[in-house]
């Protein structure tokens, strides 16, 4: 019976050993669980960009699509509300990356119109299937398309998580959109302080 105890202890160590973090987030601390921020995508002007566009800023990354009926507008509204409670300096140190996994409908122009509505800190990105596969795989998330109806509309499944990165691009935080605005604001502040 010594072995099962040992195994449980081993699991505990493995689960706990994901790296120390000086801050306590309301969301889930995922420091070290995933890779640093990295991508090659198309921005709102149709240019190919990499993670260097947010150099030195804390980042919240979120996957979605502009035709999304519920989660995406809800989450972006929540982020916008939380950002509004921050000071101008704090906001300046933060960028929200909205990556559309529906490049067929989300043209750069449409993305720009959509993200501008939620604030100047929100940047819309999308990319080819290979580019999107790369970045979604990196952050352990999937996306898929439902069947088209008569008008050509279709549903898109995508992850609901918001991923927080510190200013040096290290992954730190996983937030869900059921967190209250104040808690999201706290976590955003903590991210910019790291």
């Amino acid at each position: 019976m010594r072995i099962p105890g040992l195994l449980i202890a081993l699991f505990a160590v493995l689960l706990a050993g994901c790296g120390e973090s000086p801050v306590a987030f309301h969301g889930k601390d995922i420091t070290g669980v995933m890779d640093d921020l990295s991508f090659t995508l198309t921005d709102e002007n149709g240019d190919t960009v990499t993670e260097s566009i947010v150099d030195g800023k804390a980042v919240v990354l979120f996957f979605g699509y502009t035709h999304c009926p519920d989660y995406c507008p809800m989450t972006l509204t929540l982020l916008a509300q939380a950002m509004n409670t921050l000071s101008e300096q704090e906001r300046e140190q933060l960028r929200v990356l909205f990556i559309s996994v529906d490049p067929e409908r989300d043209t750069p122009a449409l993305l720009k119109e959509y993200t501008d509505y939620f604030g100047p800190e929100v940047i819309g990105l999308t990319g080819s299937k290979d580019q999107l596969d790369d970045v979604t795989k990196r952050y352990r998330t999937a996306y898929g398309y439902g069947d088209k109806d008569e008008e050509g509309n279709y549903e898109v499944s995508h992850g609901l998580a918001m991923y927080g990165f510190d200013k040096s691009g290290r992954v730190r935080l996983l937030m869900r959109n059921d967190q209250p605005v104040e808690q999201v604001a706290d976590d955003l502040k903590a991210l910019t302080d790291l």
Binding site: R2, I3, T141, G144, Y145, S157, H158, G159, L160, L174
Partner: protein
């Protein structure tokens, strides 16, 4: 057609460990079987077929495009573990692979290694420990907060899958050991029946619990996104049923094999 097949066989995330372990298992069998054949004790074609089918099934669910769906759909994940812990592990153990793999060493003996592993083997192959681990691991990895972390972290995910496969093989090796328990001093057939029954009911309860729980028990699939738009409720019910019914059927299958061994040795004993 060729391209579709190629895409399907490409691992979602390449794991050198998986390639290495599967290749060593396959290579070990081929080498060991050859050595045994030279002594006129070659394992039967059926045993080889059982071993390689089990190994291939396990490889297919963890190192092809199937793995993608298993990461992003709860019910596909349950199919993956059904293969790793039950079907694949069962077929590997049914082939009685230990004597074949041991033959790789040929005439050489490793007394130090054997002495180091003997206590570990005694503990892991103990019927109570094997049963507790078999059921315990299913519950452990399906514990919602543990499951959440395992699906986020690549390291934990790999640990989860390999622990399920190795544990499954150990459990079924104890159940399906073809030697006469009176001579080999392995677990008796009655004990093995009890092991199967003891493992059966917790799995039924867990499967039923998942099936009838409110949707959202495993919300990591919502947070990480599903492979295609399937309702979370449907996903969970399918996953629950897959945790419930096929493992119960595998238990019956195991019991039938044990029964056959029992009758075999009873007749010979008389």
């Amino acid at each position: 057609m060729w391209q579709t097949l190629q895409t399907a066989l490409t691992p979602y995330i390449l794991s050198p460990l998986t390639v290495l372990l599967c290749l060593s298992a396959a290579g070990g069998w081929v080498l060991g079987a050859r050595r045994l054949a030279r002594q006129g004790r070659a394992p039967s074609v059926w045993r080889a077929l059982s071993f390689f089918t089990g190994l291939l099934l396990c490889y297919a669910v963890i190192h092809t495009q199937f793995d993608y769906y298993a990461r992003y759909m709860f019910f596909m994940h349950r199919i993956q573990h059904l293969v790793l812990h039950h079907l694949g592990a069962f077929l590997i153990a049914l082939a009685n692979p230990l004597p074949v793999l041991a033959a790789v060493a040929g005439g050489r003996r490793f007394p130090l290694l054997a002495r180091a592993f003997a206590p570990l083997r005694r503990v892991l192959f103990d019927p109570v420990v094997a049963t507790l681990l078999f059921v315990g691991l299913i519950f452990f990895w399906l514990w919602p907060s543990v499951h959440f972390d395992a699906m986020l972290s690549l390291r934990l995910y790999e640990l989860m899958n390999w622990s399920m496969l190795i544990d499954g093989v150990i459990f079924w090796l104890v159940i399906l050991d073809p030697r006469d328990p009176r001579q080999a001093r392995t677990s008796g057939f009655g004990v093995r029946f009890l092991m199967l029954v003891a493992a059966l009911f917790p799995q039924i309860l867990l499967g039923a619990y998942i099936t009838f729980s409110e949707p959202g028990l495993y919300d990591v699939y919502a947070i990480c996104g599903r492979a295609w738009p399937l309702s979370p409720a449907t996903d969970q019910v399918l996953g629950g049923v897959l945790t419930w019914i096929p493992p119960a059927m595998m238990t019956i299958l195991g019991a039938l094999v044990v029964l056959r061994y029992y009758l075999n040795y009873e007749q010979r004993g008389d």
